[in-house]
Amino acid sequence: MHEYSIVMALIEQCEALAKQHQAIAVERVDIKVGILSGVEPSLLAQAFNTFKLDGICAKASLDMHIQPLVLQCNHCNTRSEQMHRVVLCPDCNSADTRVVDGEDMMLMQLEMDT
C-alpha cells in the first residue's frame, strides 16, 4: 500500500503550491498516472479522499488521467500508444524502443480558490 505514501507527497505538494499562490482552498487536483508507474488508481483515489480531509485540499476532487504507454520505435520510427504493459514496437516488433510516457506519476494542474 505505497499509495498512501504517494498521496502524502501529493498533498504536501498541493499545500505548498496553494500557500505560494495565497489560495484559500484547492478545488481540483489533476494528476497523470502511467500504466507502468506502479500505482493502483482506485487505491490512490481512496487514499486521497482519506488524507485530504485534514488540510487545504479537504474539498478537492481528484481527476486522474490514466496514461497509456507511449513508445517511440528507433527501428521503424513509429510512435505508438498502448494499454498493454509491453515495450516492444507493436508495428515492427523491434525491442529498440524508448518509453516516452506511461511510467510516471505527475501532478498536472491545480484549481484553486483564491
Binding site: 505505497h2 503550491l17 515495450v87 494542474q109
Partner: protein
C-alpha cells in the same frame, strides 16, 4: 522533461491539448507538471552523489520475501573481491542484519514499521551509520515486496531483482513494474528447477517483452560456480560507474 505534458520528450514535436503552458491560465487554474515523488527523487539524487563522492556503487536489491536476498548477500563475500556493506530494510526485527554481521559483513538495519518499501530518506538516515570509505559497493536490501519498492528511487545506481524458482515463472507478468525497473534479474534457487514447473524460457520471453535489454543470471547458493556471472556483473557495473564518475568530474 516536456513542460506541457510531463512526458520525457523535451522538444516540441507532438500534440498537446495545452500549447502554451501558461503558469496561470486564469485566476484559479495552475498548471504545474510536477513529479509527485519529486521530493523523494531529489533526496535519492543526494544519496547517489554521496555514494559517488566515496566512489561507491550502490545496488537496490528487490524481490519477494523469502526469495533469497539475504542468503545471497551472506554467500557473496566468499566469491567477490569487492568490499561491501548492506543496508537492510524490514518491517520488524534486525534478524537479517544480524545474519550478515555474523558472517563478518557490515550491515545496518532499517525498521520501517508498517511501510512496505524503503524510500530515499530512510536510506539517507542509514548512510550515517555506514563508513563508505572502506567500501567498493553497497547493497540496499529492500523490504521483501514485488510491488511498492518499484516506485521509489532510493539513490542507488542499479536495480537487482531476484525471482526464486519456487515463486513461479509467471511473476514477471504479474509484477511488470518491478521487472521493468530491473537492470539485472537473478533467478535464484535454480537447484530446485528439477522439482518445480518453472520454465526458464517462458520467463525469458516475458522479460523480453517488458525489459528487452535486461541481463538475466541464474544462481544457486548450493553451487559455487553459479556465482561467477553475478560477481562479474557487479564488477562491471562498479567499473562502469567509476568511469562515468571520472568523466563527469
Amino acid at each position: 522533461m516536456c513542460q506541457d505534458c510531463g512526458c520525457s520528450i523535451t522538444h516540441d514535436h507532438h500534440d498537446h491539448s495545452l500549447k502554451t503552458n501558461p503558469q496561470l491560465n486564469d485566476k484559479k487554474t495552475l498548471s504545474v507538471i510536477h513529479k509527485i515523488l519529486s521530493k523523494n527523487d531529489l533526496e535519492a539524487q543526494h544519496n547517489r552523489n554521496h555514494f559517488n563522492q566515496h566512489q561507491v556503487t550502490a545496488f537496490n536489491i528487490m524481490s519477494s520475501p523469502g526469495s533469497g536476498k539475504t542468503t545471497l548477500l551472506e554467500h557473496l563475500c566468499q566469491y567477490s573481491n569487492l568490499r561491501y556493506a548492506v543496508i537492510e530494510g524490514d518491517l520488524e526485527t534486525s534478524r537479517d542484519a544480524d545474519r550478515l554481521i555474523a558472517k563478518g559483513i557490515l550491515a545496518y538495519q532499517i525498521q520501517t514499521g508498517s511501510a512496505c518499501h524503503l524510500d530515499a530518506f530512510m536510506v539517507h538516515g542509514a548512510l550515517h551509520h555506514i563508513k563508505l570509505d572502506e567500501l567498493d559497493i553497497c547493497f540496499v536490501e529492500n523490504v521483501g515486496n514485488l510491488v511498492c519498492p518499484a516506485s521509489y528511487d532510493v539513490g542507488t545506481h542499479k536495480n537487482i531483482v531476484l525471482l526464486s524458482v519456487p515463486e513461479g515463472d509467471d511473476k514477471i507478468e504479474k509484477y511488470p513494474v518491478m521487472f521493468r525497473k530491473a537492470d539485472v534479474v537473478v533467478i535464484t534457487k535454480t537447484d530446485l528447477l528439477p522439482y518445480f514447473d518453472f520454465n526458464l524460457e517462458h520467463a525469458k520471453a516475458e522479460l523480453y517483452k517488458l525489459n528487452p535489454h535486461v541481463d538475466l543470471i541464474e544462481l544457486s547458493v548450493k553451487d559455487a560456480a553459479t556465482f561467477n556471472p553475478l560477481v562479474n556483473w557487479l564488477a562491471t557495473a562498479h567499473d562502469n560507474n567509476l568511469t562515468a564518475n571520472i568523466q563527469e568530474a
